[in-house]
Amino acid sequence: MTTPASFANWKLFVKRWGWWLAGAVALAVLIGYYYAKSPQITEAVLASTLRQSVPLVLGALCGLLGERAAVINIGIEGQMLLAAFIAFLVNVYTGNLLLGVLAGVAIGALLGLLLAFMSVSLKIDQIIGGTVINILAIGLTGYFYKVGLSAHGKLNPIPLGPLTKIPLIGTVLFNNPPITYASILLVFLVHYVLFYTPWGLRTRAVGEHPRAADTLGINVYLVRYVNVVVGGALAGLAGAYLSLEAVGSFERLMTNGRGFVALAVMIFGKWTPFGAWGAALLFGFASALQTQLQFGGQVQIPHQFIGMLPYLLTIIVLAGFVGKARPPAADGIPYEKEG
């Protein structure tokens, strides 16, 4: 039945989601075309896209939890690096992968606590506070790293039963290791918490107008602490992903700038979880393409130039989109209680 009212709703729906729908259809057609042409390569590139996006989306969620409460976290790189190292070490000495992941999450949260202490309580400049964490992580991992340690296995894919039988989608989406699944669930969870719970409302209030939030009885400091610590835990999970799920080992400086790229992902995603996820997938695609070009051998470009792709993409994204995106109003400003 087409009543006028639902017809108006339909028009509104198209107006709001039309471009997204068109984009999704175009993307599906494109993927379908390549899948028909060369199924293996398409599956490999898409699966790699998803995997490469995991640390970026987790890092971006970490960044946006902090910034929604007005704390800039430039130390994500360091949080990931130290967490990757601790997760690896715990796995080496206990042989337990789950313990390793938990240790990584815990150390990420701990570094989040340090950042919150510096930026909320001590009111240190937040960019310097994050830089402290980055240098500390480089130093500690370098100092305590011993060559020759090897991890006991790594997190393996868990096929989700009959779902894996679906062509293309099955192998790409439903045959992944645990942290990859977790990162997808966390996108939905953070979105829900941020926009549909009292805590999320408080967080956003603190990020936009801390004085008003304070007047309403919200504990500004507590909200900032909790968000930065939870964010740190997510960055820690990203670190554990790198050492225990992606590689199964630890290398010095293995984060390789992902923590900083994650911030660009966060900005590109306009401080929303789903936006960040989309941006992370785009960056993941750039990395996947890079691997494909490097080892596929069809294109003769020096590998250094291909390696620059994600970083150049970050700059282009920042230059092109940050002007339109709007950070939380109080972002980066320490809150001083009155009286």
């Binding site: 310097i128 402290v132 500390l136 150049l312 700059i315 920042l318 092109g320 980066g332």
Partner: protein
């Protein structure tokens, strides 16, 4: 005469002011060394042995002094680069990438240009390196002014781009093709492009000190310096006063990057003698520590760089004699940065008054402002 005026004129007042400006960095260094010592002891080595052999390696003899000053030189340059940008409220973490471009350009001019007299050749290579670094620094400056892209992220990204690009050059067009070479590096620079070292004193170190003097002069005694400081303290007021904020931001980044590029050129012409990828991987971050430890004052940067340079120079000896991994110096450095930034902790320990508003550095003004 008021209390404040008295403090400005008397000798005792001068001493007091000196103490007030150095107490926080000194306290930060001491605290960092103490915590470093605890970490060393916990990991099963002797902290006293470690620090003693570190000091001996850094200052024990002429060779030690030379190594220390050689390590100090690029740190002064990168510290100056960061400190100079700070004055305009900009955070240049890209010193490393700018330094790489300066280094490889100086190497290229150093080996490829023939027939120049010794001093001139060295000066030309140095200038080329500085300009290359400066131009690379213009990119984040222009991105900031025209698109609002925050320089912290763009400079870090440009570091990775610079690493890739110089790696490509040293592996490709500029590669040393002499028989027997298989690694990525440029040919050696000609003797005419080299910077001399007189026994323990590298010429590059003198250049670094001179650069600090020039930076001080620019900041304190030129219109540009005044504009830079005004933009740093209050960009809105600067705009209201008719200053060209956009031009100042770009020019600050260029001069900052010029200093970093010159640091790379000096390293190439004075120490390494050619370009090879991977040297001084963390100079960008080291520059931040140096700049803050030196309270972002040009002449404060020199002792701060000397301290870090000594730690870098002595760490080999420490690792060899006291069996403590070199990376402890990174840990100590991070702690120094923490305590110098968290000056309230040091002030509380020294029972000093809190910092005045004007002394505080604020950089986190969000991602899209200015």
């Amino acid at each position: 005469m008021s209390e404040q005026e008295k403090r400005k004129t008397t000798a005792g007042g001068a001493l007091l002011r000196f103490w007030q400006s150095v107490s926080v960095p000194l306290g930060a260094v001491v605290l960092a060394l103490i915590i470093g010592a605890v970490i060393i002891e916990v990991s099963g080595a002797s902290a006293w042995d470690a620090y003693a052999s570190l000091a001996k390696g850094a200052f024990g003899n002429a060779a030690g002094w030379r190594r220390t000053l050689e390590k100090t030189t690029p740190l002064i340059f990168s510290g100056l680069a960061v400190a100079f940008a700070f004055k305009a409220g900009l955070f240049n973490i890209g010193a490393q990438g700018q330094l790489l471009f300066g280094a490889i350009t100086a190497a290229w001019v150093g080996f490829a240009v023939h027939g120049l007299p010794p001093g001139i050749h060295a000066a030309v290579a140095l200038t080329a390196g500085a300009i290359a670094g400066g131009l690379y620094g213009a990119i984040p400056g222009a991105l900031k002014t025209y698109t609002g892209a925050h320089e912290v992220i763009t400079t870090i990204m440009l570091n990775y781009v610079a690493m890739g690009f110089t790696d490509y050059l040293a592996n490709g067009p500029l590669k040393d093709t002499s028989p027997g070479n298989i690694v990525a590096r440029t040919p050696n620079i000609l003797p005419s492009a080299k910077l001399p070292t007189w026994s323990w004193l590298p010429f590059g170190f003198l250049l670094a000190v001179a650069a600090a003097a020039v930076v001080w002069w620019i900041l304190q005694h030129t219109t540009l310096g005044f504009e830079i400081r005004t933009v740093g303290q209050n960009p809105h007021a600067a705009r209201y006063a008719g200053m060209k904020v956009a031009r100042t931001v770009i020019l600050t980044m260029v001069i900052s990057a010029l200093l970093a590029g010159m640091g790379g050129a000096v390293e190439t012409q004075g120490v390494v003698g050619r370009y090879e990828p991977g040297f001084n991987a963390n100079l960008g971050f080291d520059g931040i520590t140096v700049a803050l430890l030196g309270k972002t004052a040009p002449f404060g940067v020199i002792p701060a760089a000397l301290l870090l340079g000594a730690m870098r120079a002595g760490s080999n000896v420490m690792q060899f004699h006291a069996h403590v991994a070199q990376e402890i110096t990174d840990v100590v450095q991070a702690l120094m940065l923490f305590f110098v930034a968290a000056d309230v902790i040091v002030r509380w320990l020294l029972r000093m008054k809190a910092a005045e508003e004007g002394e505080k550095i604020t950089l986190s003004t969000g991602w899209g402002s200015h």
